[in-house]
């Protein structure tokens, strides 16, 4: 696998959307290629950051109460 192939699969790798065989191929390339490994680390980090930052806060209590009433 060359860098181009690796970078093309990086989204899927980070998102766990590759097959076992494909995962192994990407892994093997990353071990040998520090620039691609850096790309990978940045992508993982960005994904975690987005998750952590956007996944905060609860629905307002009055909305929950209203919906409970509607749904009951």
């Amino acid at each position: 696998m060359n860098c181009r192939d690796c970078l093309e699969r990086l989204d899927q790798y980070v998102d766990r959307e590759l097959t076992d065989a494909e995962i192994e191929e990407v892994k093997r390339h990353l071990v040998e290629c520090p620039p691609c490994e850096d790309h990978f680390r940045l992508q993982v980090h960005l994904k975690r950051l987005v998750k952590v930052c956007c996944d905060q806060g609860a629905a307002p209590a009055h909305l929950r109460a209203r919906l409970r009433q509607i749904l009951s």
Partner: protein, 224 residues
């Protein structure tokens, strides 16, 4: 500054493991008794109860989509009303979170955006890679730059994405949906999910890099 715990994105991004696509429900849970509700439904929880379990996550999604707390409340309430009306079309044991998100997403486009989305064309936009830029301009490790960016600014960067890109980021990165589930929610092919996601991430990198530069986290002249 944001603390990103190592296990924070366990369900969304720990690469290198076998994809558990077939086992995974969009909400990452699988409740015994729901997949095969017995006669009389004694083992299954009620529709309303299960639906309300997803309220916080739907509200956060609505907030990111509408960028307005009042509109987000309206959107969520309408989503639940519609879900209630169409509850017979929901199959117990399938991915309720995905089902609710699909309802909400369609309502969002109908009510707030006046119709179904056209695909966005952003050729040339967002094609700046944070990695490449930082590599050229600073000596700071990229992850360290990201860690210095405030959580609010990350949320703002997500909210500034075009809606079609934003919703993919919400589903895949925030909610941990598989590409397949996201494609189903959005009613598009998996390839479209992938290309929108890729572009969204490039745009996020660009936005966060610009913020890092404006706020002095990195300097464009090569110094930290």
């Amino acid at each position: 500054m944001v603390e990103v715990a190592e296990d924070a994105a366990e369900t969304t991004g720990a690469a290198g493991q076998v994809p558990d696509r077939l086992e995974r429900r969009g909400d990452g849970t699988r409740r015994p008794g729901q997949d095969q509700p017995g006669p009389g439904g004694a083992a299954s929880r009620g529709f309303a109860e299960e639906a309300i379990d997803h309220l916080d996550t739907l509200y956060r999604g609505a907030l990111r989509l509408t960028r307005d707390p009042v509109q987000a409340e309206d959107l969520v309430q309408d989503t639940y009303l519609r879900a209630l009306r169409y509850q017979s079309s929901y199959q117990a044991g399938t991915n309720m979170k995905a089902w609710l998100f699909a309802i909400m997403r369609n309502l969002f486009w109908d009510r707030f955006k006046g119709g179904r989305p056209e695909d966005v064309s952003l050729d040339g936009d967002g094609e700046v890679s944070l990695y490449d830029t930082l590599r050229d301009e600073t000596a700071m490790p990229e992850a360290e730059v990201l860690d210095r960016i405030a959580a609010d600014e990350v949320v703002r960067a997500v909210e500034r994405l075009p809606e079609l890109h934003r919703e993919v980021v919400l589903l895949v990165d925030v909610e941990g949906f598989s590409y397949r589930d996201a494609a189903e929610v959005l009613g598009v092919p998996i390839g479209t999910v992938m290309s929108r996601l890729h572009r969204a991430r490039r745009q996020l990198q660009k936005a966060l890099y610009e913020y890092a530069r404006e706020s002095g986290i990195v300097r464009a002249d090569g110094d930290r």
